[in-house]
Symmetry: C2
């Protein structure tokens, strides 16, 4: 095996025999090749129930040892509780719109009002509210949550989840001296498939998208499908470890994930989003 111009070359006589019209090489770009000997994924155990004012990065750092390059995933609900992004339903007065929607969805109109307050644009009202929040994320009920909190309270998504991830990252660096990546996660439904999965709503210390543009596949073609939403793949598996009921594990650390190049344009622009356009046209 030798190396030239960023590619590793693995000559394979078997391919040579069967694919004589192709360059008989096995091309992999060195700079997108992560050191995947094995990745370790650890739930942060023993965290107390988080309450407003808690120092979440400190509580996590006390319970797990970080190394440079680790990725820490935190459930948005827990971040929001620590920061007090919560509200009592008794403090909310529903508008006529919230009353109208709540009558159809059979939900508490004050809860629907909280959802509307958290939304910049409502894409669907029934059978559930689907809306965009300021960060660009589109989710059911704007991510407003009534579980894992006291009765009569709701938890909002962090209003600026990118800043939240950057802040946690900086806090961990200050507390431990380690430079890690941070992803703030939420659970969301999907099109065509039942069940929720974890998604990234904020991230820092990595790009959301791993961009394979210009990369070459095993047969020498330039890849057409060039964008992989790696933050969502990591957030999804973090959610698997957390469990939907959180199981007391709202933070998960990934070790040895390597690094990648790409960009942060995770959300479609309005005009390029086919399903969004269909939803808006049908509304």
């Amino acid at each position: 095996m030798n190396s030239f111009s960023g590619f590793r070359v693995n000559e394979r006589s078997r391919i040579e025999n069967t694919l004589s019209h192709l360059p008989c090489t096995y091309l992999i770009r060195d700079d997108v090749q992560p050191p995947f000997m094995h990745i370790r994924v650890e739930g942060v155990r023993g965290l107390p129930l988080i309450q407003q004012g808690d120092d979440l990065p400190a509580l996590i750092s006390e319970r797990i040892e970080f190394s440079d390059g680790d990725i820490l995933c935190i459930a948005s609900s827990v971040y929001s509780k620590a920061k007090g992004y919560t509200k009592r339903l008794t403090e909310i007065t529903p508008t006529p719109r919230a009353l109208r929607i709540a009558e159809r969805t059979r939900e508490d109109p004050r809860f629907i009002q909280a959802v509307l307050d958290a939304s910049t644009e409502v894409l669907l009202e029934y059978p559930f509210v689907l809306s965009e929040v300021p960060s660009g994320h589109i989710g059911v009920r704007a991510g407003v949550d009534q579980s894992n909190i006291e009765n009569g309270m709701v938890i909002f998504l962090p209003p600026d989840p990118m800043a939240a991830a950057a802040e946690v990252r900086e806090d961990i660096r200050r507390l431990t001296g380690q430079s890690i990546g941070v992803i703030i996660t939420d659970t969301c439904g999907r099109s065509f498939r039942r069940g929720q999965t974890g998604h990234a709503i904020g991230w820092s210390g990595m790009t959301a998208i791993r961009d394979f543009r210009g990369d070459i596949d095993l047969f020498g073609h330039v890849l057409k499908i060039t964008e992989e939403a790696v933050v969502d793949e990591i957030a999804g598996f973090a959610n698997f470890v957390m469990g939907e009921s959180n199981n007391g594990v709202p933070a998960v650390v990934f070790r040895n994930c390597g690094n990648w190049e790409g960009h942060d344009n995770l959300y479609f622009r309005k005009e390029e989003d086919i399903l969004r356009k269909l939803l808006e046209d049908s509304g």
Copy 2:
């Protein structure tokens, strides 16, 4: 900490002080609590380029040691190549419909014909074909792939990916004596978010959905959102390890993932799928 009727109880005086109206306990169901001390995720390195007739389970088993309960994820493209679910474009004659669609999408009409042949129902023709395949999966271009294969060839998804997963699982059991879970993965786009992620299209030895029905959250509420699509969360992270160009790592093993209860109804029924209905109405 003690245990009664399937719940672990962790008394917390801090919660007791602040939430005196609630039972002052921290409830976690033992039987959905996996042994997440740490999960290890390993790419299967050193596989040759797979060709028709290759014994994929044997090639994988020679390169990695399995233990009971491991989960093996395999890229559908590699499974299909081993089984010969491929076709030469020169063997395909496009129908008028394929010609019409290909003119709009600026793709090879023979490729579009392959996509139509693989589809049971086309939901969208432009700007890309979105269709359902016999297994119930809905994907762009029916998952037909022109990358990682010789020029002029296309790879189809396995026609029965559930049977494919069961067969690999049985082969590994025969070869190694170990009882593992198997997921066949494909990469798919999503609504509202740019980039592809790994999804499960076939699975065996586990349920697709982890069902939290009847579970109780940290504050004693019965969970409303009860279904987590764990096979997609695992497939997504497997895809992260594989890399889109496959990087020579088309198989990934997860160790120590625990187990869960649930069901296999991963795909919405037609009548309950809001986005599908919108697509059909707009067509």
